[in-house]
Symmetry: C2
Subunit: 373 residues, 2 copies
């Protein structure tokens, strides 16, 4: 049994339940190694969400509509005939029947744990009656450190993100629109991944938009002297990468340089200082103090864990009591924002080891690029 | 009150309930004019799905986490402090509290209708007790014909899809990968839309992959003589477009020409013959007969309605009893597939009028392109 599945079973035990219904794409990707496609929303052929059942005994089932060739790492696939059909019962009935059939075949019984914010009401009557356990808190704790197999998966995501950041620096040029720049970045990342990938994050340019922290690209044209915040979070084979670079097209002003130096120095402090035993709150305060010492600040968290969800626990912020441990992979993303200058943010993926941390895939921390001709 | 909201209220009345909880992105986009972003999965800042409440009296509320500037057409926004916070209560508690607060402020009571396959179990205890009504069947019927305001929204989607198809024909060249071709298409569509957009559909090339109907692009290189199925479904401002072109790079073989002619002729038959009063099943049989008459067939539906979801009712297939009506917008997508030749499929968006149908935005139905140099 893959260690990830073993940890889901452990979470099930912790939550006092016998069977879990997984209803979030990230938990299904974690437990089964099957990544529900998310780039275009719910499948138009499906009559309900992708669902998985996991038992205390390690039994696993995955409910899918027709189509798609991906095979999960764990468990048996139960398919129903969704909306691609030309005949048959209503797809929603097929969805319910297939869930019931999967549940019977696996022998589901006893106490059921769910993920309440994604658990669909439609399947409640199909499950054994009784009070539900909330699987989320225990599973969140189990996922805080990564299993050995997750590190190469996350490193690959970091490398794809780094491909995107390098392409951003190569493609940035006078007059390019944010959307076009983003398209060139995503094209490079998809070529590296060999597949369409979901990309979260931000791509904004200019004083006003960078000072406002983030947002999605639009048809704004980037000019000389504009800063670009490129926060790229690609999802590759069910795992997320994350990263943020900020660069100026052409020569930066002195205030821009100060802003960028604050963010870069804070990230470098994190790389030098993060280690097991430090609390997440202390890490947040330490890194933020570097930016504050340079005369700036940021209103967002300092970072977060990452895995099959783009944001996982622990979070590196004021109210987080968790303590850093070896085996965590943390995003550290200090920023510096000033309405009169703009914004700068830098973010790398850091793997916590026994003695410190190492970046999974670095990319250049430069203040400016001359711009492609 | 916008006619779409009035139709949701009518669906509520039909389902015998006093308040509806909307939990699907498409219903929320339909009722409120707010399109939850879907391109990167659930927001990492949110502690639960985007939800809306709609009352029989037309009162509307929308539950969002922080961030995002979009304002719904209808109703009041209730925001909670999700995972972007640096302080505060756990985000899931904030999500529940904000839902409760929205519910109280709007005066939610009586019988509640939900969309069962997306309705999150987490909010069940926060709603008035009692049996739930299923809003989905009534709302599906209400959405079968489009309101006057939806036609320009769908025409814009059709135009964006046509931009993509024309770019496909311009960009197709010897040695280009499917992923790169798709990236160039999506870049053109995003520039036309002025924003990042979700794109569903297929992009596959070569005999084997086109004969298998569809799939997402990969790093396969397209060569002379390869067919490309380009099924592009962009989501623009909450509405979906759809379209399919199939072209050969270079000179088509005689069997390829026969395959393509079968699909093209079937689409032209649909444009000539579809009119109110025809049953969806009869339309399916008529269009499929054209393909069968040419010696080919397709195993999928002939088409479907479209709106804020990529597939809506009625579906143009064997077991669909609905009758076509003026005001519907239908995708018609006949295909012809033969393992020895490959596959071809054509698809336009057709607006049903009182007397027939008109394409919302045509693009060339060509068998082949010479290929960019």
């Amino acid at each position: 049994m893959d260690e990830r599945l073993a940890r889901v079973v452990a979470a099930l035990a912790e939550s006092g339940a016998d069977w879990a219904v997984l209803s979030s794409a990230d938990s299904i990707a974690y437990a089964l190694g099957y990544a529900p496609p998310i780039e275009a929303g719910a499948s138009p052929f499906a009559a309900g969400p992708v669902l998985a059942l996991v038992g205390r005994n390690g039994a696993v089932g995955l409910l899918l509509s027709e189509g798609g060739q991906d095979i999960p790492r764990e468990g048996e696939v139960f398919r129903y005939n969704g909306y691609g059909r030309t005949h048959g019962t209503p797809a929603e009935a097929a969805f319910r029947e297939a869930f019931t059939s999967m549940s019977r075949k696996l022998g589901v019984g006893g106490r059921i744990a769910t993920e309440p914010v994604t658990h669909p009401a439609a399947i409640e009557p199909l499950l054994p009656p009784g009070e539900r356990s909330d699987l989320a808190p225990a599973l969140r704790r189990q996922r805080m450190t990564k299993t050995p197999d997750e590190i190469p998966a996350l490193r690959r995501c970091a490398e794809v993100a780094a491909v995107g950041q390098r392409r951003m620096m190569e493609s940035l040029r006078q007059g390019i629109t944010e959307l076009r720049l983003f398209a060139e970045i995503r094209t490079a990342m998809e070529a590296a991944a060999g597949a369409r990938i979901a990309v979260a994050g931000d791509l904004v340019s200019g004083r006003e938009r960078t000072a406002a922290i983030g947002g999605w690209p639009d048809n704004r044209r980037i000019g000389r002297g504009d800063a670009v915040i490129s926060d790229l979070a690609p999802r590759v084979d069910g795992y997320w990468g994350d990263s943020c670079a900020t660069v100026v097209l052409g020569a930066p002003t002195e205030p821009q340089t100060r802003l960028f130096d604050a963010a870069h120095t804070a990230l470098q402090c994190a790389i030098a200082e993060l280690r097991p035993g430090l609390s997440a709150q202390a890490a947040h305060q330490m890194i933020r103090a570097v930016v504050r010492g340079a005369g700036f600040d940021y209103p967002h968290h300092t970072g977060h864990s990452i895995g099959t969800a783009p944001h996982e626990h622990p979070r590196i912020c004021e109210d987080e009591t968790a303590v850093l441990r070896a085996g965590m992979v943390l995003m550290i993303e200090p920023g510096a924002y000033d309405p009169a200058i703009g914004g700068a943010r830098t973010e790398w993926m850091l793997h916590l080891t026994e003695t410190g941390c190492v970046p999974l895939a670095p990319f250049p921390l430069v203040v400016s690029v001359p711009g492609a001709s």
